[in-house]
Amino acid sequence: MERAGKPRLKFLIGGALIVTAVIYLIASSMSANAQYYYTIDELQARGGDPSGRSMRVLGAVIGDSIEYDPQTLTLRFTVANMPADTAEIERLGGLASVLHEAVSNPEATLLDVVYVGPKPDLLRNEAQAVMTGKVGEDGVFYADELLLKCPTKYEDTAPESAGE
C-alpha cells in the first residue's frame, strides 16, 4: 500500500509529457502548414500574400479562358471572384447560380492561373476551383494543387477530381 502513490505520480508525469509532446506536434505542424484561404477580392485587397507562403484561393472558372498545352502539360485559365461563405452562397440562390453570376459579371475581379499537370476532368466553364499555390511577381497565380466542383448537373453527389 505504501507504494500506491508512487506509480500514480509516474503515470501523471508520463501522461503529461506525452500530452505536451502531442500538443506541440499539432501546434507546430499547424503553424508551419496553415494556408490563408482567400477569395479573389480579398487577395487583391491585400495585394498578394505578405508571408510569401502558399495559400488557397477560391474562384469561378471562365470556360473560354481555358488553354492547355499537352507538350508541357501547362494549363492556363482565368477565374472570377465568388463568395466563399456557404451561408452567403445559399442566400444568393445556391452554388450553381453564384458561379453563373460570377462568370457572367463583367466587373468581377479576375485572376489568371497557371497549373502544370494533367488537365482535371472537371475543369470547365462555371466550375468552382479551389487552388493552392502562390502569386508570382507577374500577378499570375501558380497553383500546385487544383480542386474542382461542378454543381450544375449533380447538385448532390459530385465528387471532384483532384490534381496535384
Partner: protein, 699 residues
C-alpha cells in the same frame, strides 16, 4: 402512385418511431411489460414499413420515373439497371433515406435477440434507436424527401413538391441527368453502403451504453452484449474506408488513395474512437478498469458518426467531395449537441458507479500500454479534428490572435486551412508510435511488469527485426523515416509470429497436435486475441504499402509520337496506338495502347483511357495499371492530338509496394471476421466468464 406509397410508408414509419419511443419511456417508468412490448413491436414495424418505402423508390429508379426529382437527378436512360438501383444512395435525399433503412434493419435485428437476461435495457435501447431513427426520418420527410415530384404551373419554372399545388400538372422530363460518371465504379457502388453500415451499427453499442447509464446497471454487461456489434460496425467502417481509397486510386487518376480531405477525415474519426474503444473494452473485461473512459469513447463515437454523416451531407467545409447545399446543417448540429450533452450528463450522473475496480500499478503492464494506445488514438483524433475545424476557428477566434501575439499567425480572423502536409506531419509519428505499441504490448504481462521482464521478452524479436533495416541500409536505402518504418513493421511481424509460434508449440507439446492443427485450434479457442493479431499483421502490410507509395513514389510525364518511348526508373513505356470510339452506353472512349518494358524485357500492354460521357458532358480518366507485389506502374492518358499519330501525352507514376496496402486490407478484414465470428454457445461462455470475473477481480 409508387411515390405516394413510398412517402406514405415513410411517414407512417416516422409516426411509429415516435410512438415507440414514447411507449418505451412509459413502459420503463411504469415497469409495464405491455408498454415495452408495444414499443418493441413498433421498433420491429419500422423495418417492413421502410422496406415498402425503399422498394417504391427502387421501382421508381428502375422504371425511370423522372417526374420524381430524385430519380431525375441520379439516373438517366442510358444507365444499366444495376446502376439505377444503386443510385438509391447516389444522392443526398436517397442516401439519408438509405441510412434510416439500414438503421431500422439493424435495430430490428437487435430486437429479435433473447432479452430475458437484460430486459431492463430493452426500453432504453429502443428509445435511443428510435429517437435516432425518427431524427433521420424527420429529415427525409421535411427537408430531403426523395419522393418529391416536379409539377408545371401552367407557365414558368417547374415546381418541386410532394403534392400538387392547385391546378398543377405533373411534369415528366424525357430523361434524367444521370449519376455522376466518376461514381459509376464498383468501388463507389459498395463504398457508401459499407460506410453507412459501419455508421449505423455503432448506434447499437451506444444505445446499450446509454441504457446502462440510465438503468444504473453499470457492470460490463452492456459491453459484452454489444461486443460483436462493435466488431461488425468496425468491420464495415474499415471496409468502407478501404473501398473509398481503392476507388480514388482506380478512378481519380492522381496516383494516390487518400487525400486528407475533410470528408475522408469525417469517416475516419469514428473509426479512430471505435478502434480505441475496441482496445480499451478488453481492459474493462479483464481488469475492471477504464469504465468511465469506455463510456466517453462510445459516446464520442456516436457523436462522430452523426457528425460524419452530416459533414458528408452539408456545406460546412471545402472538400473534394461534393457538399450539397441544403438546410440540414443546423438540424444536424442541434441533434448532435443535444444527444452529446445529454449523454455526458448521464455519464457525470453515474460517474462514481463507474469507478475502476483496481488501480493501475505498473508502467510497463499491459493495461498501461493499452492506456497509451488509447492516448495515441485520441491524439490522432485531436489532430484530425483540429485540422477539420481549423478554418472555422482561425476565422472565429481572431480575437485570441489579437490578444496573444505568439498566436497571431494561428488565429488570424481570416480563414486559413491546413493541407495534407499538416496531417502527415502530425499523424505520422503517432501512427509510428502505435506500430511500436503493437509490437510491445502483446509481450507485456498484465498487472505487474517491469522494464526488466519486458526487456527479457522483447530482445529476441527486436534482434531478429533489426535485420530488415540493416539489409535495406546495405541495399542503399538512406531514408531514415522509411528505415524506421520498415523496422517497426518487421518488429510487429516478429512479435506476432513469435506469439503464434509460442502458443502453437505449447499445444503441440501438451496435446501432441500437429503444428498446423494446433494453430487452427488456437485461433478457434481465442478468436478475439488471435483475430486481433491477424488484424495487426494486416495493419503492418498496409503500413508497408503506405511507406512504399508515400516515400518512394516517382513520376514522369511526356508527349509521345507513335512508337516513341518514355522512361521511368527501370521501366519504359512505348506509345503503340490510340483508338477513339463510341460505346452503346453513351460514352466516347479514347483508349491508348502502351507497351511496358522493364530493363528492355517486354512485360505487356496497358490501356489508359479517357471516357467522355455525352449526357453528363464530363470526361473520366481511367489509368492503366500494371500491379505486382513489388510495385505498380500507373499510366494516365493526359491528352492526345486529334490525329493520333501526332502523339499523346502521358503521365506515369511508379508506386512501389502499394499493392501491400490492398493485400493488408484483405488480411485486416479477415482478422476482423475471425474476431467477430460467433462462438458455439456465446451465452454459456459469457456466463462462465461472468462467474470467473469477480474472482479475477479479487485476486
Amino acid at each position: 402512385m409508387a411515390a405516394n406509397l413510398g412517402f406514405g410508408a415513410l411517414c407512417l414509419a416516422f409516426l411509429v418511431s415516435l410512438y415507440g419511443a414514447a411507449a418505451a419511456v412509459v413502459g420503463a417508468a411504469r415497469h409495464s411489460a405491455a408498454w415495452v412490448g408495444s414499443a418493441r413491436r413498433a421498433m420491429l414495424l419500422t423495418f417492413p414499413l421502410l422496406t415498402v418505402s425503399a422498394l417504391s423508390l427502387l421501382y421508381l429508379l428502375a422504371n425511370g420515373n423522372y417526374e420524381v426529382r430524385y430519380v431525375a437527378s441520379v439516373t438517366s436512360s442510358s444507365m444499366p439497371l444495376y446502376l439505377r438501383l444503386t443510385a438509391l444512395w447516389g444522392g443526398q435525399a436517397g442516401s439519408l433515406f438509405f441510412w434510416s433503412w439500414l438503421m431500422a434493419a439493424f435495430a430490428s435485428a437487435v430486437m429479435l435477440r433473447k432479452w430475458d437476461r437484460d430486459g431492463e435495457f430493452l426500453p432504453w435501447v429502443i428509445l435511443v434507436a428510435l429517437v435516432t431513427l425518427a431524427f433521420f426520418l424527420g429529415l427525409s420527410i421535411v427537408v430531403e424527401n426523395p419522393f418529391v415530384r416536379t409539377w408545371h404551373l401552367g407557365s414558368g419554372r417547374p415546381f418541386y413538391a410532394m403534392f400538387p399545388p392547385l391546378g398543377a400538372q405533373i411534369f415528366r422530363p424525357a430523361n434524367g441527368s444521370g449519376l455522376n460518371p466518376l461514381l459509376r465504379h464498383p468501388g463507389m457502388i459498395i463504398h457508401p453502403p459499407m460506410l453507412y453500415l459501419g455508421f449505423v451499427s455503432f448506434v447499437i453499442p451506444y444505445a446499450y451504453a446509454i441504457a446502462a447509464l440510465i438503468t444504473g446497471r453499470t457492470d460490463d454487461r452492456w459491453m459484452r452484449v454489444t461486443r460483436r456489434w462493435t466488431l461488425v460496425a468496425w468491420l464495415f467502417l474499415s471496409l468502407g474506408l478501404l473501398l473509398g481509397g481503392r476507388w480514388a486510386y482506380d478512378v481519380l487518376g492522381w496516383g494516390g488513395y487518400w487525400g486528407w480531405d475533410p470528408v475522408e477525415i469525417a469517416a475516419f474519426m469514428p473509426w479512430l474512437t471505435g478502434t480505441a474503444f475496441l482496445h480499451s473494452v478488453m481492459i474493462q473485461e479483464k481488469r475492471g478498469m477504464f469504465k468511465q473512459w469506455n463510456m466517453v469513447l462510445i459516446i464520442l463515437t456516436y457523436a462522430l458518426v452523426i457528425f460524419g454523416t452530416f459533414l458528408t451531407r452539408s456545406g460546412v467545409l471545402t472538400s473534394v467531395h461534393a457538399f450539397a447545399r441544403s438546410a440540414i446543417g443546423p438540424l444536424f448540429l442541434g441533434f448532435i449537441s443535444i444527444t452529446f450533452l445529454g449523454s455526458l450528463g448521464l455519464l457525470v450522473y453515474r460517474w462514481n458507479a463507474l469507478r475502476s475496480d483496481v488501480e493501475m500499478t505498473s508502467i510497463f503492464s499491459r493495461e498501461a500500454l493499452f492506456l497509451l494506445n488509447n492516448l495515441l488514438f485520441m491524439s490522432i483524433l485531436v489532430a484530425c479534428f483540429s485540422g477539420v475545424v481549423y478554418p472555422i476557428l482561425s476565422e472565429g477566434l481572431g480575437i485570441v490572435g489579437d490578444m496573444i501575439p505568439a498566436w497571431a499567425d494561428v488565429f488570424t480572423g481570416q480563414q486559413k486551412t491546413v493541407g495534407p502536409e499538416y496531417y502527415e506531419n502530425t499523424t505520422g509519428p503517432l501512427f509510428a508510435g502505435l506500430l511500436l505499441l503493437m509490437g510491445v504490448a502483446p509481450l507485456a504481462a498484465w498487472r505487474h511488469s517491469t522494464a526488466k521482464t519486458l526487456g527479457r521478452a522483447i530482445w529476441k524479436p527486436t534482434l531478429v527485426s533489426l535485420a530488415v533495416p540493416l539489409l535495406a541500409l546495405l541495399g542503399g536505402m538512406r531514408h531514415w523515416a522509411a528505415l524506421l518504418g520498415f523496422w517497426l513493421a518487421a518488429f510487429v511481424v516478429a512479435v506476432t509470429v513469435y506469439e503464434f509460434w509460442r502458443a502453437a508449440w505449447a499445444r503441440h507439446q501438451l496435446h501432441g497436435e500437429a503444428l498446423p492443427l494446433a494453430l487452427w485450434q488456437l485461433a478457434g479457442r481465442n478468436r478475439r486475441r488471435y483475430g486481433g493479431y491477424i488484424i495487426h499483421l494486416g495493419v503492418v502490410l498496409m503500413a508497408i504499402g503506405i511507406l512504399g507509395i508515400e516515400i518512394f513514389q516517382t513520376q514522369t510525364q511526356g508527349t509521345l509520337a507513335q512508337g516513341e518511348t518514355l522512361a521511368l526508373g527501370e521501366y519504359t513505356i512505348t506509345f503503340e496506338r490510340l483508338n477513339v470510339f463510341d460505346t452503346t452506353d453513351g460514352r466516347n472512349v479514347a483508349r491508348a495502347t502502351v507497351s511496358v518494358r522493364r530493363d528492355g524485357d517486354y512485360l505487356g500492354e496497358l490501356y489508359p483511357r479517357r471516357d467522355y460521357y455525352y449526357e453528363a458532358q464530363q470526361p473520366v480518366t481511367m489509368p492503366g495499371v500494371r500491379s505486382t507485389l513489388e510495385d505498380d506502374l500507373y499510366v494516365v492518358l493526359v491528352d492526345w492530338q486529334p490525329i493520333s499519330t501526332l502523339g499523346a501525352t502521358f503521365k506515369v507514376y511508379h508506386n512501389p509496394l502499394v499493392n501491400w496496402l490492398w493485400l493488408g486490407g484483405l488480411v485486416f478484414i479477415l482478422g476482423t471476421m475471425v474476431a467477430a465470428w460467433p462462438d458455439h454457445d456465446p451465452e454459456l461462455r459469457r456466463a462462465a466468464q461472468r462467474k470467473s470475473a469477480p474472482e479475477a477481480a479479487q485476486a
